[in-house]
């Protein structure tokens, strides 16, 4: 049976070429400078310094984080009740509703955003609100499904026990359902916040041209300015922020459990 392992050799080669090597390229470019299109192999932190010392760039970073945070919060606020109400339905109806929620997720995100562009053309709303509508629309199903999975897994006996001990509906919800559904919220946050920070399509299509997020910045430095070193540094900063925030949310989750 051990000989079967050889079957994964082609993929290991593929991983090396198309996952590892490209990641190394980003690191390489982020920590060097280029002159006349060729990298000079000398370690430098100049690219990072340039980003962190310029208020314009920091403002873009802040806007991206703020939009991602608000999007995530709104998704939880709208999505939690929806997930809870679905979980309280008979099982057959639950499956059907989840199916209804999953169906639009298979449809091209750009086409859905373009549809919003058509709808929102009719209204005089601030472009930031338009961006929020587009973002919440895109991510809401992920949040609902994650929270629903957590609530549906919950042991119903615990609720019965809470009622037997004299808890009313609210108390039972606050003391049993809500704490036990936190893992669902956490994985929902992972699925919403992470792509929301780096999103650049929705802001561009719905927010008009003057709406710059970190994703748009990376796009500009790679495709317009052709400064790959600086572009790589920006994407590394973004990746670090995402990893750090994921680490923090996980930490929050486990510290909540220890209580």
């Amino acid at each position: 049976m051990k000989s079967f392992f050889r079957m994964s050799y082609p993929y290991i080669l593929w991983i090396g070429l198309f996952i590892i090597a490209p990641m190394v390229m980003i690191l390489l470019y982020a920590f060097t400078r280029s002159s006349d299109g060729a990298i000079t192999f000398k370690f430098t932190l100049e690219n990072f310094g340039r980003f962190l010392s310029d208020p314009t760039f920091l403002k873009v970073l802040w806007t991206s984080l703020r939009i991602a945070l608000i999007t995530t919060a709104v998704c939880i606020l709208i999505g939690y009740p929806a997930a809870l109400f679905i979980a309280n339905l008979p099982e057959k109806r639950q499956t059907f509703l989840i199916l209804l929620l999953t169906l639009p997720m298979w449809i091209n995100m750009l086409l859905k955003t373009y549809a919003w562009r058509g709808i929102l053309m009719n209204f005089e709303i601030e472009s930031e609100i338009k961006v929020f509508i587009g973002m919440v629309y895109d991510f809401l199903p992920y949040m609902i499904i994650q929270i629903h999975t957590a609530i549906a897994k919950l042991d119903r006996e615990l609720l019965t026990a809470a009622y037997d001990l004299g808890a009313n509906k609210w108390r039972a919800f606050l003391k049993v359902t809500l704490p036990l559904s936190v893992p669902g919220i956490i994985s929902g946050i992972t699925l919403v916040f992470l792509p929301a920070v780096s999103s650049f399509v929705i802001p561009k299509l719905l927010g008009g041209g003057n709406y710059v997020l970190i994703g748009n910045l990376i796009e500009t430095y790679f495709l317009v300015a052709g400064d790959w070193n600086f572009g790589s540094a920006i994407s590394l900063i973004m990746a670090l922020i995402i990893i750090a925030s994921m680490y923090l949310t996980r930490k929050l989750d486990t510290s909540g459990k220890e209580e």
């Binding site: 049976m1 051990k2 000989s3 079967f4 392992f5 079957m7 994964s8 050799y9 082609p10 993929y11 290991i12 593929w14 991983i15 198309f18 996952i19 590892i20 090597a21 490209p22 390229m25 980003i26 470019y29 009740p81 929806a82 109400f85 509703l97 209804l100 929620l101 169906l103 639009p104 298979w106 449809i107 091209n108 750009l110 086409l111 373009y114 549809a115 919003w116 058509g118 709808i119 053309m121 009719n122 629309y137 809401l140 609902i144 992470l194 792509p195 920070v197 780096s198 650049f200 399509v201 994703g215 990376i218 796009e219 790679f222 495709l223 790959w228 790589s232 994407s235 973004m238 990746a239």
Partner: protein, 267 residues
């Protein structure tokens, strides 16, 4: 008490209907206005098929559909084969090796798309490969394989190793054991992996945008690059929505039908 309960139920179903309405609004809106006979997205002035005719005359749009389908088909085929074969191999690897490779396999899934996209673009540019449909397809295969592996791997873990072992003890070559014993058992997982891969490739924008170069564009890139609002995109969206719904219904129906048939044969 009873009235209160009924009121609550009324509230919860109302809420769910509102959420679903929000999620289906743009889809239904686009479907309706694809049949509008004017360019307006506000008032429906009459039924017509002009945007569908428009679509058929729009060479750029048709090209983008063609590229999207070709790339999605190749990426699905290659990633399904490579991913399944790799998953079977990995399931027999030492845990340390397997976990390391699965961690790396997860990178394109967890990384923001834009990071995967620029990493691949840097790779192609630095080894001086002109970005084209070839680099586009390579990039798509790269981000599709992890989904196939993630879909097949859990199923492989449930398999009883002894069955393949027994087949080989009885004289089956590894190839026969593979194609007659292992693959038939994980077939549904392979199919769903392929379906996810196809949809990932079909819908991708960010990675395509950075790896396709200037001569090739898929549907997403075409929509992104459009300067003015063009209602024939509504027609295109409508057709895609119908196709996706059909595929999903079939994908859910076929296994159910087969099961029913098997049951009938059993009795």
């Amino acid at each position: 008490m009873k009235a209160k309960k009924r009121g609550w139920r009324f509230f919860t179903s109302g809420y769910l209907i509102l959420v679903l309405a929000f999620i289906y609004l743009p889809i239904l809106y686009v479907m309706l206005f694809s049949f509008n006979d004017s360019k307006s997205m506000i008032s429906f002035s009459g039924f017509s098929l002009r945007w569908y005719e428009d679509m058929l005359e729009n060479r750029e749009m048709l090209e983008s559909i063609k590229y999207t389908v070709i790339v999605a088909l190749i990426a699905t085929g290659v990633s399904t084969v490579v991913g399944t074969v790799a998953a079977i191999g990995l399931s027999k690897a030492r845990p340390l090796v397997r976990n390391l490779i699965l961690e790396i396999n997860n990178l394109p899934v967890l990384n923001p798309d834009i990071v995967t996209a620029i990493s691949l673009m840097l790779l192609f540019l630095s080894v001086k490969i002109q970005r084209s449909i070839v680099t586009l397809t390579l990039a798509h295969i790269t981000f599709c394989i992890p989904y196939v592996i993630l879909s097949v791997m859990p199923k492989l873990r449930q398999l009883d190793d002894n069955v393949a072992e027994a087949a080989m003890d009885l004289g089956a070559t590894p190839w026969v054991a593979l194609t007659r014993v292992i693959i038939p058992q994980i077939y549904p997982a392979i199919l769903s992996g392929a379906l996810i891969a196809f949809s990932m490739s079909f819908d991708d924008f960010v990675i395509s945008f950075f790896t396709a170069g200037v001569d090739v564009q898929n549907i997403s890139m075409y929509v992104y690059s459009m300067k003015r609002f063009n209602p024939s995109v509504n027609a295109l969206s409508t057709l895609i929505v119908i196709a996706v719904t059909l595929i999903l219904v079939l994908a859910n129906l076929i296994p159910a039908l087969r099961e029913r048939k098997n049951k009938r044969e059993d009795t």
